[in-house]
Each structure stands twice: as structure tokens, then as C-alpha cells.
């Protein structure tokens, strides 16, 4: 039905309304999606406003929406950035009137970490899934150049997981636990002079990723006059450095007046306390000093009430919306552009995600194949080289072997000659010896014969 309505605006709208009025009750989501579809198709003319002749009943749409969201429950994520010990956990405890069981961090953390804790809170019939993320060790290191990076990485990770969920084939966005940071409370130390260099650098890196609400922590250490000057200095520093902090929305008449007034009180000077002191006949949250009692909810003493108003009572939903429509969309766009996706190709024709994805995939596969080929080539080349080397080595060895063999033969023949000559000598010697002995023997017998003759003669 919706597809056929796209051609002629006026007719379709009237048609739709008439039909819906006859039915009486409209389902909010189908109507909304109806409108969405119509705008997507790109109607050239604005829809013609029509006056109703009676009460239709779609003024209950917001209520239905509210009922649906209430039954689903709300989700809110706050990030608290500040030095160790500046009062982040205490302020959260005070804001939400509970004890979130936080423990003291040490000043000697080697790097900045983020600790997230999720709580389920309930007030009247509204359920809130609150996630509080605290920085641990922020501002403690000697070299703080990397400090902001850890926070930025955390925020990006949350965006990334949402993006992944959105891009899934089978997704369950309505069940998804949205962990994107909706509000970032930046705690400024009450030095009374100006922002610290770390504050400026960090806020500049975060202003395009999250709604920053700067607060002056431990404000009971600054007197009224100093506070006024301090606030002005901080705001002027932020402005002159182009840091975009969250501005309470002023486009909705119901809240624009209070929001504009509050915008002028930024940054809020807060004091947190979970301890109670008796003032008059009431127990109030306060800090008791020897010189007086600082009441947390006394607007004359600090801006805590203003912060609670603005953050929780009036603008929580706006913060969530801004996170989704502005910060998340920016992240998504940057990320997809990085990956090479475009809304329109070089000829300015709209390109769908699937086409781009397919094209990317092809490219990737081709690249993969090419690389594989390359590697194979290199492998073959290497094998050849190695083979040649080995052959060369073999030849050399062979040559050496031959040479050695020859030498050996020569030596052997030399030795043989020597031996022969030695043997000759030996044989001639033994001959001579035999001859000599014979001679000696003959001489002896001749002698003995002579002796015998002599004896006989005697």
C-alpha cells in the first residue's frame, strides 16, 4: 500500500488520513514508519496541512510512546573524568541518593584506566539502568601525554560495538544494552585560577565524541567572588580554544527558559556529600566544618541542585538523543568513510551499501590472490637459489676430495719406494752378515784345527 502511495503526495496523504480516521486508532509505529518511508522516497513538495473536523485521537501518540518506553526501562551512561580523589564517586552517590560502593583508588597507577559499573535503579514506576564509568589514575602520572587517549579509546569502543550490532545481519537492537556514553561530567579542580593544561587537551579531544558537562568539584573551597571570576575564566578559555561543551537545548519552549538560565551558570560548582547533618529540625546532606556547615542542596552554597535538575530531571532524554544523532552518527560516518564506503560514487550517483560492500570484497579477494601469487613466486625463486647453492657446494666438495685422493696416492707411492729401498738394504746387509759369519766360522775352525795340531804335536 505504501509503495503505491509514493506518486502523488496530496492524494496519498488525504487517503491515508481518511483511512486512518475511519479506523479510529492508529498504531504509532506503523504511522511513524509510514511517514519515514514517504520522506525517504523523496517527495518533492511539502505535505499539505489539513485541518480536522473532529477529534481523531492521535494526540495520544506521545503517551503510547511513553508507556512503551517505561515498560521497556531506560538506560543512561555517565562518564566521570577527573583527578583521583576529586569527588567523582561521592558526587554520583549524592546525585542518585544511593551508595554505589566505590573504593578509593591509589595515586600510583601507571596509566589511566576506566572502570564501568552498571546499576538498576527504580523511582516510582520508572526503571533506570544506570552505568557509571569512572577514570582511575587520571592526572596522576608524571607524563600525561597519553592520558586522554585511553578515554577516547573507551568511548570509541562503545560506539564500535553499537555499530557492529547495527551492521549485523541478524540484529536485535531493541534488546541491545546500549553502552554508549550519554553524558560526560568533567571534574575541574578548584584552583581558582584557570583550567589545567590536561583539562584543556582532554576536553578538546572529547568534545566531538560525547556531551561534555564541566563541573567545578569541591566547590566549598572557593569563595563566592573567586567563584564568579573562576567560572568566567574557564568559559572564556573553553571558547577561545574552540571546545564545544554541551549546551542545554533551548528550542523547546517548555524548557527553553530554564535551560537558557542554566546555560549561563555553567560550569556548575558542586559539592558532594553522603553524610547528613542536623540543620534546624531536619537532617540534610552537608559537610560540617569548624566554621560552618555547607549544605549540598542549598542553592546559595553550591550548584548541586542545578546540576541534578539539568542532568536528570530535564535533559536526560536530550542527552541520549544528542549522543545518538550527533556523536554516534559522526563516528559512524568517519568509520565507514575510512573503510571506503561512500554515499555517492564519482559520477554522483547514489551507491548502496551492498554494492560498495561487494566491490570492497572483490577488491580484497583480488588483493589476496595477488599476494598469494607473489608469495608463491618468491618461494619458487628461493628454492631454485638454494638448489643452485647446494650444487655448487657439492661440486666444490667433490673437487677437494679428488685433490686429497691424489695427494694420498702420491704419498703412498713415495712410501712404497722408500720401503723397497729399505728392504733392499736389509737384504744386502743380511747377505753381508751371513758372509761375514761364514768367514768367521771358517776362521774359527781353522784356528781350532791349528790348536788341535799344536796339542797333538806336544
Amino acid at each position: 500500500m505504501i509503495v503505491t502511495l509514493c506518486l502523488d503526495t496530496a492524494v496519498s496523504l488525504e487517503c491515508l488520513c481518511k483511512q486512518k480516521s475511519m479506523v479510529g486508532l492508529v498504531s504509532p509505529f506503523s504511522l511513524l514508519s509510514c511517514f519515514a518511508e514517504l520522506t525517504l522516497i523523496g517527495l518533492p513538495r511539502n505535505a499539505r496541512p489539513l485541518s480536522l473536523s473532529g477529534h481523531v485521537g492521535f494526540d495520544s501518540l506521545p503517551d503510547q510512546l511513553v508507556n512503551k518506553s517505561t515498560s521497556q526501562g531506560f538506560c543512561f551512561n555517565i562518564l566521570c573524568i577527573g583527578e583521583t580523589g576529586i569527588g567523582k564517586s561521592t558526587l554520583m552517590d549524592t546525585l542518585f541518593n544511593t551508595n554505589f560502593e566505590n573504593f578509593e583508588s591509589s595515586h600510583f597507577e601507571p596509566r589511566v584506566k576506566l572502570r564501568a559499573q552498571t546499576y538498576d535503579l527504580q523511582e516510582s514506576n520508572v526503571r533506570l539502568k544506570l552505568t557509571i564509568v569512572n577514570t582511575v589514575g587520571f592526572g596522576d602520572q608524571m607524563n600525561k601525554q597519553e592520558s586522554y587517549q585511553h578515554v577516547v579509546d573507551y568511548i570509541d569502543t562503545q560506539f564500535e560495538s553499537y555499530l557492529q550490532e547495527e551492521l549485523k545481519i541478524k540484529r536485535s537492537l531493541h534488546n541491545y544494552h546500549d553502552s554508549r556514553i550519554h553524558a560526560c561530567l568533567y571534574f575541574i579542580a578548584p584552583s581558582g585560577h584557570s583550567l589545567k593544561s590536561l583539562d584543556l587537551v582532554t576536553m578538546k579531544k572529547l568534545d566531538s565524541k560525547v556531551n561534555i558537562i564541566p563541573v567545578i568539584a569541591k566547590a566549598d573551597t572557593i569563595s563566592k567572588s573567586e567563584l564568579h571570576k573562576f567560572k568566567i575564566k574557564i568559559m572564556s578559555e573553553l571558547v577561545s580554544n574552540g571546545v564545544q561543551i554541551y549546551q542545554f537545548p533551548t528550542d523547546d519552549e517548555t524548557v527553553s527558559k530554564i535551560n537558557t538560565a542554566m546555560n549561563g551558570h555553567l560550569p556548575f560548582a558542586v559539592v558532594g556529600s553522603t553524610e547528613e547533618v542536623k540543620i534546624g529540625n531536619k537532617m540534610v546532606k552537608a559537610r560540617q566544618y569548624p566554621w560552618g556547615v555547607v549544605q549540598v542542596e542549598n542553592e546559595n552554597h553550591c550548584d548541586f541542585v542545578k546540576l541534578r535538575e539539568m542532568l536528570i530531571c530535564v535533559n536526560m532524554e536530550d542527552l541520549r538523543e544528542q549522543t545518538h544523532t550527533r556523536h554516534y552518527e559522526l563516528y559512524r560516518r568517519c568509520k565507514l568513510e575510512e573503510m571506503g564506503f561512500r554515499d555517492t560514487d564519482p559520477e554522483s550517483k547514489p551507491v548502496s551499501l551492498q554494492e560498495t560492500y561487494e566491490a570492497k570484497r572483490q577488491e580484497f579477494l583480488q588483493e589476496l590472490q595477488r599476494r598469494e601469487e607473489e608469495m608463491r613466486q618468491t618461494f619458487v625463486q628461493r628454492v631454485k637459489e638454494k638448489e643452485a647453492e647446494l650444487k655448487e657446494a657439492e661440486r666444490e666438495l667433490q673437487g677437494k676430495f679428488e685433490q686429497l685422493k691424489r695427494l694420498h696416492m702420491e704419498e703412498k707411492s713415495k712410501l712404497d719406494e722408500k720401503r723397497k729401498s729399505l728392504e733392499d738394504e736389509m737384504s744386502s746387509f743380511s747377505k753381508k752378515k751371513a758372509a761375514a759369519e761364514l768367514l768367521q766360522g771358517q776362521a774359527f775352525t781353522a784356528n781350532s784345527n791349528l790348536k788341535k795340531d799344536k796339542d797333538r804335536k806336544k
Binding site: 591509589s106 600510583f108 607524563n143 601525554q145 566549598d220 560552618g292 546559595n300
Partner: protein, 373 residues
Amino acid sequence: ADFLIIRRDQMLQEFWECPTNGEKEYVGFATLPNQVHRKSVKKGFDFTLMVAGESGLGKSTLVNSLFLTDLHKDRKLLNAEERISQTVEITKHTVDIEEKGVKLKLTIVDTPGFGDAINNTECWKTITDYIEHQFEQYFRDESGLNRKNIQDNRVHCCLYFISPFGHGLRPVDVEFMKALQDKVNVVPLISKADCLVPAEMRKMKDRIREEIDKFGIKVYQFPDCDSDEDEEFKQQDQELKDSTPFAVIGSNTVVEAKGQRVRGRLYPWGVVEVENQSHSDFVKLRNMLICTHMHDLKDITCDVHYENYRAQCIQQMTSKLTQDNRVESPIPILQLPTPDVETEKLIKKKDEELRRMQEMLQKMQQQMHDHDV
């Protein structure tokens, strides 16, 4: 200063009340303290105080409150942007102040930029270089031929401001104090003490004392008082020692509190009085720094830190000289007698003989032992 006068009078009193048993006769040297007092007043005193700590902790306000002057009239504070890569500077202000005839030449050494940059690795180098430079200067002057007008610019005390917004010491605090502990008397202070309720303050002080012990940081120790002091004095002294590190608040503005005009800070919920002992330890700090321990700080600087520096310096120089005979010593030092070659050979030979004899002795002993067994 009053305190010294009281002691002197006490001693004179004691002397005069001493029972003269006939043998003791008046000599007169009991007036020595008097003479010392007179001469020192004439000469005047000097003191160099260094303040260090992150920007915005109230260093300048405290110094102004301590000495009741305005030393930092035209200073320019830097923006956050300018401080991203700021280097540490050293600025000096010298003032001459006088009280009851006693003149004090006070030099305040400020260290703007400390701990302000994003990367603070070795940010104390400028400061330690400055302190050593002063030592070196004094060393040269002391070893020179004409020593009439030596200017003592050595830093006698360094007040280190710890931020009260954390849980205790931070890495930068630990590194700074450890780098300076052997060069100057470090007195840690908890600044802007009006941000902690009494229970939190006690916890913070205990924490800091623990951490100072844990990291082995040598901060300035108050000297123990003599055993013959009276109980009240000893008790006060002990209280002083127990309340370190001092938690201070500074202010030079006068406000109205309980019908009186006092120096303090005005809040919608009350007035913090700077000189109220239950509000802060400002009075204790002032007494310690100015009234009672100023001279001790100077003594320790001269006797301990400076002497260490001097010994180190000389050792380095002599080792360099023996290596390279051409280097002229910039200051007159006595050459240690180095044994010449002949004597060394003799010594070596004797050593060898000794060793051999010892070995023989051992062998004989062993033999005897075996024989007995």
C-alpha cells in the same frame, strides 16, 4: 625573638639568685647572650625561603599571609593553553622587613610552572640546579681570598604544597621531595585546608605521614627539645611534631567575624579565620618557621646540606685532578698524599708475604688438628 630574650633574662636571674657561698665571685660572662643579641641585631638576619607546588594551591597567598606583605603584586598567571608545555622557572623576590629593631632580609624563591605541563618528567631539575648553583656560589666565595662580603643566597627552607584534593601524596610529590631531600630542608604543607572536614584532615595527615615513611622521604625534622626544658614546653613541642604536615589556609583579606575584624575567607556558610588554631595550622607554621626554628633551618642548611655538597664537590674535583694533571684547581685544596711507585711496590710485596705466611699457618694448624684426631 621575644622567646630568646626571655631565656636570656631567665639565665641572668638564675645567676643572680645563686647563693654566694663566698667562693663564687662575679666574673661577668653571663652577659654573653646579651652581647650576642646586640651584635646580631646590628648585623641583621637573612633568610631564603623557597615555595614549590602546582599552580593554584595558594602558595603566593600563603607567603603574603606569613609575612604580611604583598610580594606578588604584578604577577601574570598563564592560561591553560600556554601551560601545556611550560617549563619551570625560578623567580626571586627580596624584601627588607623590620620588627622591633630586628632587620630581616627575606628572599622568596618562587617556582612557577612546576607540575603544570602535560609532561612533568624531571620538572624539578631546574629547581635542584638552582639550589646547587647557590651552593656552588657560596663554595667559591668561601674559598676565595677576600671573604669580607659573602652573600648567602643558599636556600634555607623549601615549603612544598601538597594538594588537598587527592588521597595523599602523588607521584610528582614523591619524586620532587626525594630529589630535594638532600639539598634543602623540605617542609611539606597541606594547602587550601578549608576543603577538608576535621575527620578527613586527620586521615589525610596520617596518610601523608605513612607515605613519607614508606617512600623514605627525608623531610625536615624538628629538633628534640632539651631534656631540661619544662613540661609545658615539651608538650607544645610534641603537639607541633604530631600535627605535621601542617594544613594551612592563607588570606590577606580582612573580613568581619563575630564582631571582630580578622584575616580570613568569607563563605556563605561561615568565615574561615586564618589565625584560628582550630581552623588551620597557619599559626603553628608561622611560629615554627619564623619564631622558633628559623635559625635551626639555617644551621641545618649550613651544617648538613651545604657540607654534604662541599664534600661531594671536593671528592669529584680530586678524582678529576689525579686523572688529569693539567687541570687547575679552581679553589685552593690540599692534595692528599698519593703513595709513589716504589712505596707501592713495597707495600704489595709485604702484602704477598703476609698472605703466604697466613696460608702456612693455616696449613700447620690443619696438620696439628689432623694429628690430634
